[in-house]
């Protein structure tokens, strides 16, 4: 815990908040343009946060007050700590030697869990329904997420000996596309599709925003939050979206720009930073922007079935293709020349 580490960590967290909020603004703008509206300015989320910070912070009489007030802080701090363990902007994570992918998976779980606990503690029926839906949704997609992470880790464990497979070290991790044959490429593509399908649920966006469905259950788990608490949860939602996009980029596109073009090493971090932003934007564009502009909300049972049956099956096929590629791929390719 040197002072330099603390300064770096603090700067990184502020940067993550800023990028997450701006990406949220970009999302609102892009979705508005798709619906042929003009849309809010890109800095709108930052204005919203400023406004929420000056609003009155109401704690309902029926709420369990300490849980209700603690959970927004738990949610935002875990969403921020996540960025200390996952490679960010083409640089290695600050705590790359302390954490691994399993820890990162758990850190991804805590913010929605904290939101659900806060919802239960707020003593409102709407918030309870929203929290229940959040938990059901989480149980449905965590299966898929675990399958994706373990499939890729298995792939590394058999193809790259001596590599710590759960490591979050960027240098130790080759791009998964480069170490498989044609079958494996299709398998990784299926895994990528499933992870993009998990994205809207992780981000709480349409068509999986039933936990905060504002037209039917009054913003769900957020229903009783106002002022500072709401501002924290608002930032947390933006960080969750950005964080999961960072995670997908790390799993599937870990390569940096210097692997494609040569650059002056002095400017390389800047180019890597923008290359990283481009990758995150591409992931979010495919999985959140387009999807939330053209879909309506699922019912919770439909969403749960969608993840447990459809998406989970697709991810298992992806794993199967990876296994086929490794064990009998060579013989099959020889057979077909």
């Amino acid at each position: 815990m040197t002072p330099i580490f603390i300064v770096n960590a603090f700067g990184l967290m502020l940067l993550a908040i800023l990028i997450a909020l701006i990406l949220n603004g970009v999302e609102r703008k892009v979705v508005a343009r798709m619906q042929s509206r003009i849309g809010p300015p890109i800095l709108q989320p930052i204005i919203d946060i400023k406004k929420l910070l000056m609003k009155e912070n109401i704690v309902p009489e029926t709420a369990v007050k300490w849980v209700f007030n603690t959970m927004p802080f738990v949610a935002i701090s875990t969403a921020l700590v996540f960025f200390l363990y996952v490679p960010f902007a083409g640089q290695n994570a600050l705590l790359k030697n302390q954490g691994d992918l399993i820890l990162v998976l758990y850190l991804l779980v805590i913010p929605p869990l904290a939101l659900a606990i806060g919802g239960f503690a707020s003593g409102s029926n709407f918030a309870s329904i929203g929290a229940q839906r959040e938990l059901v949704l989480m149980l449905s997609y965590e299966f898929v997420l675990a399958t994706i992470v373990f499939s890729l880790s298995w792939l590394y464990s058999v193809t790259t000996p001596n590599m710590p497979v759960f490591s979050v070290d960027l240098e130790a991790r080759p791009s998964p596309w480069l170490i498989v044959g044609p079958f494996g490429t299709v398998g990784i593509l299926l895994l990528l599709i499933t992870s993009l399908a998990v994205m809207p649920a992780k981000a709480g966006k349409l068509p999986h925003d039933m936990s905060e469905a504002k037209t039917e259950i009054a913003d769900g788990a957020l229903a009783e939050y106002s002022g500072l608490n709401l501002a924290l949860l608002y930032i947390t939602q933006a960080l969750r979206t950005f964080g999961f996009a960072t995670f997908i980029v790390f799993l599937f596109f870990p390569c940096n720009i210097e692997q494609f073009f040569g650059f002056d090493p002095f400017f390389l971090p800047i180019f890597n930073f923008f290359f990283f932003l481009a990758k995150v934007f591409a992931v979010m564009f495919c999985s959140v922007f387009i999807v939330s502009a053209v879909t309506a909300r699922f019912r919770i049972d439909q969403a749960s079935a969608f993840y447990i049956f459809t998406i989970f099956t697709i991810s298992l096929f992806g794993l199967l293709l990876l296994i086929l590629d490794f064990f009998i791929g060579g013989q099959l390719y020889a057979l077909f020349g």
Binding site: I47, E56, A223
Partner: protein, 142 residues
């Protein structure tokens, strides 16, 4: 920081206090691509806890009186109340009806009245803008 942020970010909660749905449709029309209030940062929210502005439509029926008062108290400060439509302003055609407890300003303090039956979406947007201007004046006084 402070009240200036409200100018570009007004979150609106819509209370239907016995309206015929005419005004409600016009409020929704203000969100459509033609009027697009989101470009001014105005957003319809699902709960009074998130709201800065209460849009009240309808003469207040006896059943809705308690609910309207409760929603008003649930809204965090600073807050504004905009009445949309003739019914909320004067009770309109329901004036002196046996089951009416309104108009709205008999129960809660109202900042801006938007007239019309129903008012046009432009009028509703102007009403919200005027409500914000009023909030700014109170800040100067303090």
């Amino acid at each position: 920081m402070g009240i200036d942020a409200l100018k570009r970010s007004l979150w609106v909660f819509h209370v239907n206090a016995g309206s015929c749905n005419g005004c409600d449709i016009e409020i929704v029309a203000a969100l459509t691509p033609r009027y697009d209030v989101e470009r001014f940062g105005i957003k319809l929210v699902g709960t009074p806890r998130h709201a800065d502005v209460l849009l009240v439509t309808g003469p207040v029926t006896r059943q809705m009186k308690d609910k309207l008062l409760r929603v008003y108290e649930q809204t965090p400060e600073p807050k504004l109340v905009v009445v949309v439509g003739n019914c909320g302003s004067t009770c309109g055609v329901f004036y002196e009806s046996y089951n009416i407890e309104g108009p709205v300003d008999k129960l809660i303090p109202v900042d801006v009245y938007v007239h019309g039956c129903p008012p046009r979406p432009e009028a509703i947007i102007e009403g919200i803008a005027k409500a914000w201007a009023k909030l700014e004046k109170t800040k100067v006084k303090k």
